[in-house]
């Protein structure tokens, strides 16, 4: 009894997935603007910021997002020869809860786009995205295909673009260094929560 009950739950899930993909395709026609609001206002970074940015940029854990060929260039840069752990990227985290960075190693198709968006949403702030490879930047060699998303910035805001097909491990490491420079200039506004004064609280509301 449960098995065929599950069968129609599964076909129902397939149909629902088809609709989310169609809706997603209609929604994402414009690329997301690249997040760089913290670069224009050349605000002074206080030493608290220096401490926070040093902590944030020194250990960035990437999430598993390996659709295609760039995955093996990424694994090669993680392996012992190009050793990404020199930059604090110790291991590839399988779940977005424990990751800060999404390296999009591979071609993005419309069927995968909602899953990538879901992974990005489930990552904890502050989070960053590196679009790796020509397919990540603009759909690359498959741009004219009916099923390829022309670039990850249609799905998630991208911080650093690493060109190449696949980019060499050194290029990826240079991209990560750029991201670390970008993080070093972040500024977090700290608000000291003032205890609510009894008199002024009513007026302030």
């Amino acid at each position: 009894m449960e098995i065929d009950q599950l069968k129609d739950i599964v076909t129902e899930a397939d149909r629902a997935e088809g609709e989310t993909i169609e809706a997603f395709k209609r929604r994402s026609l414009e690329p997301y603007p690249d997040p760089d609001e913290w670069l224009e206002n050349n605000v002074i970074t206080t030493n608290i910021d220096k401490l926070l940015n040093w902590a944030r940029r020194s250990t960035i854990f990437p999430v598993v997002c390996f659709p295609a060929c760039c995955a093996f260039e990424y694994i090669a840069s993680n392996a012992s020869r190009f050793d990404l752990s020199r930059f604090g990227m110790e291991i590839i985290r399988a779940s977005p809860r424990q990751a800060d960075l999404m390296i999009t190693a591979g071609t993005l198709t419309w069927k995968l786009a909602p899953a990538v968006r879901r992974i990005y949403d489930q990552m904890a702030e502050p989070r960053w995205v590196i679009a790796m490879g020509a397919c990540g930047i603009s759909g690359g060699i498959f741009r004219s295909s009916y099923n390829v998303v022309p670039g990850y910035n249609r799905v998630v805001p991208v911080d650093v673009y690493v060109p190449g097909c696949p980019p060499r491990p050194e290029a990826l490491i240079y991209g990560i260094n750029l991201l670390q420079k970008k993080i070093a200039r972040m500024h977090t506004k700290i608000e000291i929560p003032r205890p609510p004064m009894p008199g002024r609280m009513a007026a302030g509301k």
């Binding site: 397939d14 149909r15 997935e17 088809g18 993909i21 169609e22 069927k111 099923n147």
Partner: protein, 145 residues
């Protein structure tokens, strides 16, 4: 060297049992009528002297006014192979499925259905394989832009 069994003598051997199956035959492949492709495959696999037990691939080609399905079978023991073709008109593109005979054709026929739009009767689970449920159209057709 893999010997390609010529279509003519394959037509002769099968012609005895399935008289009206073969439409056309030359030295490279055999063209079979659309309705009898399933029995043809069954004969290829089960007659002792033929025993083509390995299916290499199933694919379809869009020739504007008809679709052509290409099957290639191999007899592993004595290293012989044969190419079998069948055609179906563009408007009612349905072909009997050979999945009950060769289990390997399951995913490949689903792929032909998904990308070319040819339905296979008797296929256990004919659904889109690469594209999602609500996708309009069949991409590999020549008129799909």
């Amino acid at each position: 060297m893999t010997v390609t069994l010529s279509g003519n003598d394959l037509a002769r051997t099968i012609g005895a049992r399935l008289p009206q199956a073969v439409v056309e035959a030359n030295d490279r492949w055999v063209l079979v009528r659309r309705e009898s492709i399933a029995q043809f495959a069954n004969f290829l696999k089960n007659t002792p002297e033929l025993s083509f037990d390995y299916l290499n691939y199933v694919t379809a080609v869009d020739y504007h006014d008809y679709f052509e399905l290409v099957y290639q079978f191999t007899a592993l023991k004595d290293n012989r192979q044969v190419v079998v073709k069948t055609r179906c008109p563009r408007n009612d593109a349905t072909v009997p499925s050979i999945t009950p005979v060769y289990r390997g054709a399951d995913l490949q026929e689903r792929e032909v259905f998904d990308l070319m739009g040819i339905k296979f009767e008797g296929h256990p689970n004919l659904k889109r394989i690469f594209l999602w449920e609500g996708f309009q159209g069949y991409p590999l057709r020549k008129d799909y832009l």
